[in-house]
Symmetry: C2
Subunit: 239 residues, 2 copies
Amino acid sequence: MSHTLGVRQAQKQKTRQALLDAALRLLEEQSLSSLGLREVTRAAGVAPTAFYRHFRDMADLGVALVEEALGSLHTALTALLSATGDRAGEDDGEERIAATVELIAAYVRTHPAHVRFIAREQHGGVQAVRAAIGGQLALFTQEVKDQFAREPEAAGWAEDDLLMLAGMYVDHTVMTASALLEGGAAGEAGAGPGAAERVAARSRRQLRRQPRPPPLAGRTLTPPHPDPLRALDSYVRGN
Amino acid sequence: MSHTLGVRQAQKQKTRQALLDAALRLLEEQSLSSLGLREVTRAAGVAPTAFYRHFRDMADLGVALVEEALGSLHTALTALLSATGDRAGEDDGEERIAATVELIAAYVRTHPAHVRFIAREQHGGVQAVRAAIGGQLALFTQEVKDQFAREPEAAGWAEDDLLMLAGMYVDHTVMTASALLEGGAAGEAGAGPGAAERVAARSRRQLRRQPRPPPLAGRTLTPPHPDPLRALDSYVRGN
DNA sequence: AAACTCGGAGAACAGTTGTTAACTGCATGG
DNA sequence: CCATGCAGTTAACAACTGTTCTCCGAGTTT
C-alpha cells in the first residue's frame, strides 16, 4: 500500500476480474478452446468490445487464469517454504503424508473451479495455456526439489534424482486434486461421500511409495507387475 | 468372413472412417468441444449433412473415437492376458518393468494421435466422452487386477488392495504415455531425442516404486516428503 | 427388370461468432 | 478548471455455425 491506486485503474481491474470470474464459471462445463469471447462478456455483464481492453484473445485470458490459479499459490509457497524449512523430521513420515493429502483436499474444496481448469487445460487444446501451466508446475517442482535438498535424508543424492522425485510429487498432487474433484462432487451417481476418502487413502498410499502390506506377517513384497502387457507387442507395432 | 458385407455398407463404413480420421487429425491441435461439424466434414471431403448418417452429434463421434482408440487395445489385451498368465516370475522384475515401459513407448510411437486424444479428453469438456474414457480405463484396471490376482505374490492380498494397485498402474500408464507424447515430438524446443529416454527412465523408476538408492551404501531410505506444504494451510483455507 | 432403400449432395434458414469503427462520459494531470 | 486519456458502449460487417428439407442415383431386394 505504497500509494492507493486511482479510481480509474481500480474500476478497470474490477471488470477484468469480472471477465476472469465469468470465464472460470463457464469453464466448469466446457473447455477453453470452445469458449467464445461474446459468451464471456455476456456472462460478465459488459459489452463484447470491452474484452479487448484487457486481453488480446481467449488464449491470453487463459494464461491470466493460469496465473490466478497457480501464481498466487506459488508465491505463497515460496514465502512459507523457508519459514518451515528446519522443522523437518519433527514428526514421523506417516503424519506428514496425511497432512499433505489433507492440504490438497482442502485446496480442492476451496478452489474447485481453479483446480478443474488446471486439470482440464493442462493437456487442453490451447498451446499457450498448456505452456503456462507447464511453466508454473516446473517452478513448483524446482521449489520442492530445493526443499528436499535441505533435508538431511537427501544427503548424497544427485541433483537430477531430487528433481525427478520432486516432479513425481508435483504430478501426484495434480492427479490427486483432479481425482478428488471427480469423486468429491456430492450427489454424484455412484460416488457417495466416501469417494473423497477413498481417493485420499489411495493418494496416501501412493505417497508412501509402498503398497499397504498384506494382513500376513511383515514379509517383504515383490509386488506384481503388468507383465502380460508385453505380449501386446505385436498388436502395438502392427495395425 | 462369414459373409462378405455388401458394397453398400462397405462404402458407408468407409466414409464413416474418413470422418473419424479427419476428426482425429483436427483434434491434434484443438479439443473436441471446439471441433465443428462442418469442419470435420470439410476435412473428410463429404457434405455437411452426411455427418448425420453416422453420428448424432460431435459428442457421439467422440465416443466412437474413444472406442477406436481404447476398445481395440482392450480386446487385444483380454485375448493375450490369459495366454501369458502362467509365464509369471520367469525373469526378474527389472526386466519386466523395462519391457512394460518400452511397450508403452511403442504404442505412443505408433498411435500418437489416439494417445493425444485420450489424454486431452480424459478431463476435457465433453461429459459423454469423459465417461466413455473412464469406463474403458475401468475395464483395463479390472483386467490388470485379475492378472495380479493370478500371480503367486498376490496371495493374501485383499481384493480392494489389488484393484487399487491395478488402478495405479493404469493411471501411471496414461500419464507416461502423455509425457512421452509431449517430450517425444522431434524438433521441439529444448527437448531433444533424449527427452523420451528421460521420461522412460522416470517411468521405470516410478514403477519400481522406490527411487534409485543414493550412491552410498545400501542404507534404507526414508525419502523426504513435501512437509512445508502443510504450512500453506492458512492460505488454502483463507482467501 | 421393376420397386425400393438409403447414403450422400445441394440449397437455404436463422443464429452466432470475432472484429472494426466511431461515439460517450468520466477520472486524471497540468 | 479545462484539455487529455481511456474504459466501456453502440452499431454494423462478413463469415461461419448447426440443422432441416428436398432431391438424386446407385446398390439391393424381389
